[in-house]
Amino acid sequence: MSVDILDVGSGNIWSIKNWIEKANVSARVVSDASDIKANLLILPGVGSAGSYMQRLKQGSYDQAILEHLDKGGRLLGICLGFQIMSAYSEEDGGIEGLNLIDGHVERLLGKVSHNSWEPISLRKNELDGQSFHRQMNLSKKQILNGRVFYNHEYGFVNNEKKSFSISVSNSLSKYSGLLVKDKIIGMQFHPEKSQITGLDLISMIL
């Protein structure tokens, strides 16, 4: 099992590296699109959708991500890295995404922003319908119960019928907090900053 973290010039890359390494798995930070080699590619996301997509295209990272998936690799998107997997985001006047998941991103309804911890509950076997199988036996945990940290102003509206999705919260049930589709997993929250729950989660999915 190997993990590459894509560095497109923004975001808290080192927090994500720290998160993976806390699970005793090494991770590489990759800034050259042609250097992606790992089985699991992590797409961190901090910033605004417009400038982020621009950087993805300028560095040919968008093509590299598609090639990674074509080769059977797994993909994990975090926060904005998850949002740009959609077809379209209304941030920055409207941005075309990578279109990996049938869905769109919109401004959170009635909210200034969502900066909060929310509870999460997940059974490992709920992911069995997808091909994002864990490859390491890092944890015997079958159930994840904890809390995760959100910091966002836009939400992912999922239209994939065969995906597995957990909503952000009861009041933001329209938006996906965690979404798994085939070999792709997206997290609107920041698992790398979700303390013990973040560690439990990475141990369950790696």
């Binding site: 910033g47 605004s48 200034v112 900066n115 909060s116 900053k193």
Partner: protein, 235 residues
């Protein structure tokens, strides 16, 4: 509502501060953050308590400490982020949110907009160190080194660009349940965007919760009471 903590970083070490003037050494930043993470502190605001004599070199020295941090707690960082050169040093650090103070007071739109592009609008916080003087709210302008009346500040500019605003009661910093609620009377921001700090106690936390305030940041004195973060959370 979130319950977080303020950690002051001065010359690469953490310090405790009282009343915006008196400081005592506290230890290494990593040690302090490890403790706060163990108590499941919701967030930590690391602030460099700088005045007008801050330099880029001093900033770079502190950034080295931030860069070496290993933490799984949400971190905001600020204090002396006054130019694009400063901002560029923040790329890739283990922080989610940037705190600006003087940049908001001086309406540095280009700097704050660049930060928004790099980190997202949700990452932009404004710090207003405030106190009550002559029946008026005053804001400490750190790059000038003095207080200015709130009425002289363009609060619409702050409301437009800041995702959240930290109101830091400078006179009651380090005290217990002494946060001055009068400070909020002249503040034109929605309460759900406001974070309060300085003199936070359990009663203050409860009152903030009732008023739908976004977060309270407990002063660094929590580190003398090992379990106090949990006490505050369930107060």
């Amino acid at each position: 509502m979130r319950v977080g903590s303020v950690v002051l970083l001065k010359e690469q070490l953490c310090v405790q501060s009282y009343g915006w003037n008196t400081i005592r050494p506290l230890g290494s930043l990593q040690g302090v953050l490890d403790s706060l993470e163990e108590y499941q502190c919701d967030e930590v605001a690391i602030i460099r308590p700088v005045r007008k004599n801050d330099t880029l070199n001093k900033f770079q020295q502190d950034i080295k400490v931030i860069k070496a941090l290993k933490t799984m707690t949400p971190i905001s960082f600020g204090g002396g982020v006054r130019s694009i050169e400063h901002l560029n040093l923040l790329k890739g650090l283990p922080i989610e949110r940037i705190i600006f103070s003087s940049a908001f007071l001086e309406k540095k739109r280009e700097l704050i907009t660049l930060a928004k592009d790099l980190f997202g609008h949700q990452a932009i916080k404004c710090l207003l160190p405030i106190c009550y003087q002559n029946n008026k709210v005053h804001v400490y302008h750190s790059s000038l080194g003095n207080y200015v009346p709130l009425s002289n500040i363009d609060t619409k500019f702050i409301d437009e660009l800041a995702n959240e605003i930290v109101l830091f009661d400078t006179q009651h910093e380090g005290g217990k349940d002494q946060f001055d609620w009068l400070l909020l009377s002249g503040i034109p921001f929605p309460l759900e965007k406001i974070i309060i700090s300085g003199g936070i106690g359990k009663k203050t936390k409860l009152s903030a919760q009732q008023q739908n305030i976004a977060s309270v940041l407990i002063d660094n004195k929590v580190l003398h009471q090992e379990y106090s973060i949990l006490d505050y959370k369930y107060a």
